[in-house]
Structure formats: C-alpha cells, structure tokens
C-alpha cells in the first residue's frame, strides 16, 4: 500500500505542473496562436521564482515564500510571453520560429544572469515548503495519504487553476469569444470581437501559467535550478494534443504523463521495477517514448482549432 501512496504522491509532483502548463497552452492555441515557447517560458518563470526564493529564504519562509514566488513566476511568464504575442499577433510572424527563439533565449539568459551574479549557473534553494501531512484532511483514511501527505501547496493551487480555467473556457463570455477566435477569427471579427486582443489574452494566460508551471515543477523535484525544465514545456504540448484541446481530456492526459514520468524518475523506489535488469537511461526515455506512441494514436483525427497558427488578416475574408 505504501508503494501505491508513494507513486500517487510522486505522480502529483509531475502531473500538476504538466496540467497547469497544458491548460495554459489550451488557452493560447484555442485563441489561435501556437505557443511552442512554453519550455522557455517555464525556464524563465522557474529561474526568477527560484532566484527569489534563493534570496529571501532566510527572511521569509514556508508557504508565504512559495506563494510569493508563484506569483512572481507567473508575472515573469506573462511578461516574457508578450514577446511571442507581439510576434504572432502584430507581426504575423511564423509562430514556431518565434517560439523557438524564446526557447533558445530563456536558458541562455538564465545561465548568463546566474553566472554574472553568483558565478555558477546552478541556483540552490532550501525546501521549506514541504507538507508532511495536511491537518485533518491528511488523517482521512486512503484519501489522506494519497493526496494530503507528502505534498506541496502548489498541488492545490494547480487543481484550483485547472477548475477555474476549465469553467471559464466553457461558460464565460471571454471563453466563448476566445474559442471563436481560434476556430474562425473572421466570424469573431464580423461581430466586433477584438481578435488581436483576445489572442494577446490567450498567449498571456499561457505565459502566466507556464511561468507558474516552471516553478511548480522545480520545487518538489529538485534542490537547485539549472536553467532547464527537462522538456516539460514540450511534454505539455503533447498533453494538449493527446487531450484533444479539451480540458477534461487534458486532465487525464496530464496524469497519464505524470505516471510515465514517475516511472522514469522514481523506479528505483519501486521494488518490482528496481529488480528488473533495465538500465537507468531506458527508464528515463519512458515519458518521451510514451509521447510518441500516444501521438501516433491521437494525431489522425485531430480536433485542433482550425485557425491555429494562422495569423489573422482582415483583408482575406
């Protein structure tokens, strides 16, 4: 039983950031902008967030520090994503290329700044956020040890973000307009919806959530930040495609990948897997191989937004 609890707890560490970033990606893509820059935005969010923790961990500590860091990471992600929004919306640039540029920029910037300031590129931090057991809830049998022990407050923030985001895209005016811009911007424009504004909003939301996701990924799984989030931004896009751009399916996809990643990183703590004669590297490839396999089966009938990746041009009606 304790192995099962362990797997679930680990899965949460990996699935929650994926969920946050993928749901952000959903907002960008369903507004019509492909955001492949999520990887870079995650790096930026995590970099500034961890740097903040590194500086203030002696003066502030615990959950307040983490929540402040989350807010900062989100703000940084949102600001950084403006570059992508500007290129994609105003400049009608190739969105893949613009995204790639941000992906190249972020780690270079993080390493440069870290080395210029503190000499080495790794930024260490002390984990003062770990919650061994949530009061009351943690004592509930079965559910307590699954979700309310050995956890982080970010898990609950992530679930909250998911619930709000899933509701908003389906049930609000903003969500309706956003979906229209991703499928048929001409239709939205003809009834006076500001397509550029909505697309900016979509990209910024994805940036804020990716920034948060970057931090949320690093905090439980590491003790220092080394200018990388291990391809998590790209995995989030795979989650989005596997989830067919719909929030409910994205939730399931995120947890599927979370389990895959758990197998990859924590197999040595799972007795059955540890006893198998499979080298470490093979385990590490699991999430990526799983992505390929899943994409093979989910790409044929794609529900991708129809106007995704196409700059909106008023002239072409």
């Amino acid at each position: 039983m304790s192995v099962l609890y362990f797997i679930i707890q680990q899965t949460m560490y990996f699935a929650i950031p994926l969920l946050i970033v993928a749901i952000g990606a959903m907002y960008s893509e369903r507004s019509g902008v492909i955001n492949i820059a999520l990887e870079g935005i995650m790096v930026m969010g995590a970099f500034v967030g961890i740097f903040f923790i590194n500086i203030f961990q002696d003066s502030i500590s615990g959950q307040l520090l983490l929540i402040l860091a989350v807010l900062i990471a989100g703000a940084v992600g949102g600001i950084f994503s403006l570059l992508h929004a500007f290129a994609s919306v105003n400049m009608k640039a190739d969105q893949t290329i613009s995204g790639t540029a941000l992906n190249m920029f972020a780690p270079a910037f993080a390493i440069y700044v870290a080395r210029m300031i503190q000499g080495s590129q790794q930024i260490p931090f002390t984990d003062t956020f770990y919650i061994a057991k949530v009061p009351v809830l943690g004592s509930i049998p079965v559910i307590g040890p699954m979700f309310f022990q050995n956890c982080y407050i970010t898990t609950f923030i992530g679930i909250g973000i998911f619930l709000v985001a899933a509701f908003a895209i389906k049930k609000t005016r903003f969500g309706l307009r956003l979906r229209a811009c991703g499928e048929h911007p001409g239709a939205a424009d003809s009834v006076g919806v500001n397509v550029a504004g909505i697309r900016y909003a979509g990209v910024i939301i994805s940036g804020v959530l990716a920034g948060i996701g970057g931090l949320v990924f690093v905090v439980p799984t590491s003790t220092n930040f080394n200018a990388t989030v291990a391809g998590y931004g790209f995995l989030a896009i795979a989650v989005l495609i596997f989830g067919q751009w719909r929030s409910g399916k994205i939730l399931m996809a995120a947890f599927f990948f979370g389990i895959m990643k758990t197998l990859a990183s924590a197999y040595s703590a799972i007795p059955i897997l540890k006893s198998l004669p499979i080298p470490n590297e093979i385990y590490k490839t699991i999430p990526y191989v799983a992505t390929l396999i899943v994409l093979i089966f989910s790409s044929k009938n794609s529900q991708a937004p129809r106007a995704e990746g196409i700059p909106y041009d008023k002239g072409s009606r």
Binding site: A93, M104, A108, Y112, G231, Y288, L292, S299
Partner: protein, 376 residues
C-alpha cells in the same frame, strides 16, 4: 542598364537579404544592451570582441571560425533543407548526437579497417544513423499525421539518453565520464590546413560541408526531386493533386535532413580537437544553432554557408569576450535575439518596401519632370 541595377535592389532576394542583415543588427544591439546592463565599464570592450570575432587572433582565429562553423553549417543545411519541404526539423540535435556516436563508435572499434578509409567509413556510419533517426519523425508525420516538431523533440531526448547508455556500455572512459579517444586513422585528414591556420583545429571537414552546400543547392534548384520537394513544402495539396507522392517526399526529406545532421556530428567529433561524447543529460546545442543558421540563411544553401560562418565568427568572439569577465552565453542570447528578429521579418520587409517606395516616387517625380518637355 539602369533597369538591371534596379532589379537587383528590388528583387525578393535583396529584400530578404536586407531583412536578415537588419535582424543581425538588432540582435547585436540587444546583446550590447545586455552587456551594458551587466557590466557597463567593460561593455564596449566585450562587444568589440564579439564583432571582431575570428579576426582577433590572426590565422588561428580564422581557422577557429571555420572549425566552429563546420558542424553548424551541417545542422543548418539539415534544418534548411527540411524547411524547403515544409517541415520544421527541430530534431537536428538528436540526429547530430546519434551520428556523432556512430562515427565515434566506428572510429574506436573498427580498427580492422585500412587506415585510408577508416574515417570515411566512420562518416558513412554517421550519415546512415543520422538518416535513420531523422526518418522516424518523417514516417510518423507522413503516415500518422504526427506533428514533426513534437516528435522530433521527443527524439532529441530519446536519442540523448540512448547515446548516453551506449557510450557507457561500449566506449566509456569512467574516469572522465566520457567516450574514449578514437583511433588516429579515424580522425579527419588535415590536408595541409594545419600549416595555413596554425593552432586551429581545422581539417577537411569544412570542405565536406561546402561540398554538401553545393550538393543541396543542386538538388533543390536543378532537379525534378527538388521541384517536387519544394512543391510539397509550398503547397502539399497541389502536390498531391499533381500526383507527387508527398508521403514519400516527407520521409525522404527527413532522411536527408537527418543524414546531414548526422554527418555534422561526425565532422565535429572526428576533428581530433579533443572533443569527446560526454555522458550528460544535455541536448546537443549544435542542433538548435542549426535552426538559427537556417533561419538567418533563409533556408538557402548558399545563405546557410554564410550565416554558418557568421555564427561561427561571433561564437569565437564569445570565447574571447571572457577576457573581459563576460559569460560566453551572451552569444546564445544574441543568437536567440537574432532568430526572434528574423521572425519579425515582416516588420523589416515593410520597412524596406517603404524605403523603396519613397525612392521610386522620387525617381518617378524626377523622370516626370524631365519627360514633360518631350511629351509636350
């Protein structure tokens, strides 16, 4: 005579070329601002180092530029060639690493080969393995409609981990956590280049890269195969309508693209410059540099040759800049900024068009002024 000169300056090629130059200027300016922000007193010195790049150190510097440019010209060609077919090969890194491993493996283990062809066989092995790795996203795209960007990124990680595993199992130097040295006979010949560029690690790799540039140029511009590939890239629907087998072309394009990247890996790791395959969880940066090179060179093989040399040039500048206590990652920041500005090419193109329009109007006004007399 006049009209001919005009056509050069008005042509699409010229506009594209100037927008690349503008992107470079903007990127460099941004880099300068970064330097200025981090260390104002040394910023100018550091920046001059970047600009001077390979010309700081005499022939050695020039040789170094050519040495650094060689692998990224190859990955640039890889990315650019795929671009022409409408594919974004962001997986050049994985193909590069896989090719490098194949070459190094042959270079270490296949010592039974005659010395004269050992390095050639190692290059061939790299081409084959690179092509094989490249074919996977191609096949997935052609037959399962899988977005090649995502699958190629996944292949980068898978390739990296598997190469790590293979290096550890077969050609490992545990003390240094890297591959052991390749046999002398597998190292690329210098062909006298070491005499000209004393101190640089230059070898015939640069000639092989130039040969590839010419080959790809001919394929794209002179052959029916190139005609088909470009048609697929520009309009896959019309290509299918015209009976072009677009699935086959997607796979072939990725195979060739992968082969180019794989060969690039071999050219770097068989250079005999003290480069070893290290067992680290890091994706080969040469693949991403290839994206910059291809974008800057507008996916044109000749353009890629020059943009590869340019990136090599400022990379050398980046190393020299460390003299002034700057971190060489500044170069990566500049390159990213250049790529971003390149994506904004529309902005530059409209700017250039506006300038052209102004000039044309002036010329027109002049012409009208002189013609008036005649017409009357």
């Amino acid at each position: 005579m006049n009209s001919k000169r005009k056509s050069i300056f008005k042509g699409e090629g010229f506009v594209n070329f100037s927008s690349s130059i503008l992107a470079i200027i903007c990127g460099l300016l941004f880099g300068f601002i970064i330097l200025l922000a981090s260390n104002p007193s040394q910023a100018v010195n550091g920046f001059m180092m970047i600009i001077k790049g390979g010309f700081t150190d005499g022939m050695k510097g020039v040789g170094d530029v050519l040495y650094y440019a060689t692998p990224i010209i190859m990955t640039g060609l890889s990315v650019g060639f795929a671009f022409k077919t409408g594919l974004f090969n962001i997986g050049a890194s994985g193909q590069f690493t896989a090719g490098a491993f194949a070459a190094v493996y042959v270079g270490i283990k296949w010592t039974f080969l005659p010395a004269s062809i050992h390095w050639l066989v190692a290059l061939l092995a790299a081409i084959l393995v690179g092509a094989l790795v490249g074919s996977i996203p191609g096949i997935l795209k052609a037959f399962f409609n899988v977005n090649e960007v995502i699958s190629a990124i996944m292949m980068n990680y898978i390739g990296m981990y598997i190469v790590n595993l293979l290096v550890r199992n077969y050609i490992y130097d545990p003390l240094k956590n890297q591959s052991v040295a390749v046999a002398k006979s597998a190292i690329l010949p210098k062909a006298g280049l070491d005499k000209i560029f004393v101190g640089a690690s230059l070898n015939i790799g640069i000639f092989i890269a130039v040969l590839c540039v010419i080959l790809i140029y001919v394929i794209l511009n002179k052959t029916t195969f190139g005609y088909e590939l470009k048609a697929c890239g520009l309009n896959p629907h019309a290509s299918k309508y015209a009976g072009i087998n677009e699935k086959r072309n997607i796979v072939l394009s990725m195979v060739i693209s992968g082969a180019l990247a794989g060969l690039g890996g071999a050219l770097l790791y068989l250079a005999g410059s003290g480069k070893y395959l290290q067992v680290l969880d890091i994706i080969a940066p040469e693949g991403f540099s290839g994206i910059s090179v291809a974008l800057l060179g507008l996916s044109n093989p000749i353009g890629i040759l020059f943009s590869g040399l340019f990136i090599g040039h400022i990379t050398v500048g980046g190393y020299n800049m460390q003299l002034f206590d700057f971190v060489s990652e500044a170069i990566d920041i500049i390159i990213a900024a250049i790529v971003y500005c390149g994506a904004l090419s529309l902005l530059f193109k409209t700017m250039i068009h506006k300038i052209q329009m102004k000039r044309a109007k002036k010329a027109e006004a002049k012409a009208v002024g002189t013609d008036k007399g005649k017409e009357a």
